[in-house]
Symmetry: C2
Subunit: 423 residues, 2 copies
């Protein structure tokens, strides 16, 4: 369009509105039924990973351990080595979990709530507990902190990570602030990568709470779409800052192999890991080692994984390009929306005019396209400016996605123009 | 032997001791290295289950759900139906978990500790909390209640289940008693099956705590060695007693397919299950549905499972018979030990003379046979009479097991005779 819609004179705005209402009515007539609500991989992506399901005829680990039987709480040595290799982590920090890194995060909160850490009181016994929630962020993170009764403090995201001036001043002043949620690479939903400076400041900052924890959910740590983006080492940063126990690092193969049947892990300082394993030994005898072997037979090592992720990127990149090209073509220069162009991860985030996100998604839904709910990217599901929308392009087929994005852009414009018309 | 060793005159006792010391020395000279500490299935048993690991080329549930992707928190419908069919449970009560029923028990305690149930205060906020622990019992159960700060009350086992007179009078009088551990069929370690009357009384008893819960770990629910033993329906019993929310039912395929990679489940009243699923939705997006399909492709339905368990029983029965025949031959009529002859499950429990369990196991260990530690079958790992020993015959090969049992019987006798000699 090229012209700032926000500055159109009333009569041209009215004409535009009429045109958009007609376009929207046309889409409604098509009776679409598309769901883009969650960051799920498409069937094509999953089909690419089918070798993982081939017969596991040698169910033994390299050291001879029978992976069918009980035991090996911390995960098979080769699985820990693999995670160490691909994430540049000491395998001695790694604990292999089940199929869900979210579950490992939740369980980490449970331990902190019931038992505490580092000789500090259990978090559950505190009259007030607070948590920093860089926003927009991941709704399932915020659901955990809400479930455990944390007051969630929203911290704005910048192009290099959370607003670190704000983070530093908050954590220095308030001992009730017990931690921060971070998706440091290709953040959900904006695709922002934490800069080296951000990582260094997170590791070095003084916190009033001695048991402050960084929940470092590196969910998209190897999910590059356009070549590798490097992420600084959070353990090194925290050690340099004199806070070696501060980070809890999470990762999984959910979006490398299968979301429902991947292998999750967490990493922590060696001393913290020892405490965690001691607690875990009461909870379970061990995770599914056969699935560890099955996953390893396909992913093997860092070079094989890199190739595998490049193949997945071939399938994912066109989806992101459909989203970004459609946004640029339909909304570029209109002043009605801003968005990011991520270089990896699973999402694109878009900001509408203030007060238009809910209306936009309502329009889309009524025309048959369900997207992540408005507000979901903020604590308590409340977007203070009602403008942020998470676009999840990974699940639909490319043709469906193209249609959905065209409709979506009509909805963004229509909601905005209705608002500008004062309707 | 035929004569009560406990009644031998001193000179014959001394002679017997000399003979046993020599036999024991002979075993030590053989430098055995056998581990019978845990209830792990043998490699032969696991080999029998290898079809579970065949290629899963159709990763879709009956309703078309892509089992590779996210979702279906409560488990695939066919998996819930399968558990319902084999355990005579309404599938609407069932939640499918990951690979560990222990983990489901632990997580149930976590929810009760942090959130409570039925509008009652969270258990973690109570100044005192107590739990009934029928003993001898399962060490991992007791580890959970210990971890969460419960005062554990040991309740003696009878041949029909826990001493119900004692259970009823305790729970009626003390609102701090929040629940009871039960392994109702082929109990760990004694192989006792709860009678219909025991089940009815558990369901009907009045408890001072309105949120009293029965942790019904039916781990050996289909593990019959000599034909089926029926177990009364705990849900029906609790409903009849007016306490429909009382039971939490646990089960898994760990000892049906693979201990490390089975499928676990829990069942509860429909209303309780709804509460649990709501909490679980914050914890995880769902368990491994591919493993549910994989497991179902082999176990299929109740008749197929029955045949499968009969085949496993063919492998297990000789092991139990080695144990029982050796005990009878070496210890029968001596007055030095009592034991049970289970008709299913995974264990045999033996009682030595009072004060001889630790010494017996120490002797066995020093001769190269590691068994479950003394006291492990009691809360706090303290056996008040130091006499109960759990024998786990499922892991060793039959020849190894024969040797281990011969040594073990020498150790039982030697420890007893040393004690009788006042040494």
């Amino acid at each position: 369009m090229g012209n700032l819609v926000t500055e159109l004179p009333p009569e041209r705005l009215a004409a535009l509105r009429e045109k958009l209402e007609a376009e929207y009515a046309d889409f409604r007539g098509r009776k679409l039924a598309l769901n883009m609500a969650r960051g799920k991989p498409s069937g094509t992506l999953l089909d690419h990973n089918m070798p993982v399901l081939e017969t596991l005829d040698r169910p033994f680990a390299a050291d001879g351990t029978d992976a069918r039987n009980y035991g090996v709480l911390e995960g098979l040595p080769e699985m820990r080595r693999f995670f160490g290799e691909i994430l540049d982590l000491d395998p001695e920090r790694v604990i292999v979990g089940g199929n869900s890194s979210l579950n490992l995060m939740y369980d980490s909160f449970v331990r902190l709530m019931l038992f505490g850490t580092g000789g500090q009181p259990a978090w559950g016994t505190l009259p007030v507990r607070r948590f920093l929630c860089p926003s927009p962020g991941y709704d399932r993170h915020f659901a955990i902190t809400q479930e455990f009764g944390f007051e969630m403090i929203s911290v704005p995201m910048t192009s290099t990570g959370p607003d670190m001036d704000m983070v530093e001043s908050l954590v220095a002043a308030d001992a009730a602030i017990k931690g921060i949620w971070c998706v440091p690479l290709y953040s959900n939903p904006q695709g922002i990568c934490y800069s080296d400076e951000t990582v260094a400041r997170l590791g070095g900052m003084r916190t009033a709470a001695p048991d402050f924890r960084i929940f470092w959910d590196n969910a998209y740590g190897v999910h590059h779409l356009y070549g590798e983006t490097k992420l600084a080492d959070i353990f090194a940063a925290c050690e340099a800052g004199g806070h070696p126990d501060r980070p809890y690092y999470f990762f999984s193969t959910s979006k490398i192999t299968f979301p429902g049947a991947g292998v999750a892990m967490m990493a922590a300082s060696v001393s913290e890991r020892g405490e965690i394993l001691k607690r875990m030994s009461v909870q379970t005898i061990g995770s599914d080692k056969l699935n560890q072997l099955r996953t390893l037979r396909t992913l093997k090592d860092a070079p094989t994984l890199k190739k595998h992720m490049a193949e997945l990127a071939e399938i994912l990149r066109p989806k992101f390009e459909i989203v970004l090209n459609t946004l640029e073509r339909e909304l570029g220069g209109t002043g009605l929306a801003g968005w990011n162009a991520p270089r990896g991860g699973y999402f694109v985030a878009l900001d509408t005019l203030d007060g238009c996100a809910k209306a936009t998604l309502e329009l889309a839904k009524n025309a048959g396209v369900t997207m992540t709910g408005a507000g979901a990217t903020f604590p308590y599901r409340r977007d203070p400016r009602d403008r942020n929308i998470r676009i999840a392009p990974t699940y639909p087929g490319n043709d469906e996605l193209r249609t959905a994005m065209e409709l979506f852009c009509v909805c963004v414009k229509l909601a905005a123009v209705r608002k500008l018309c004062g309707a």
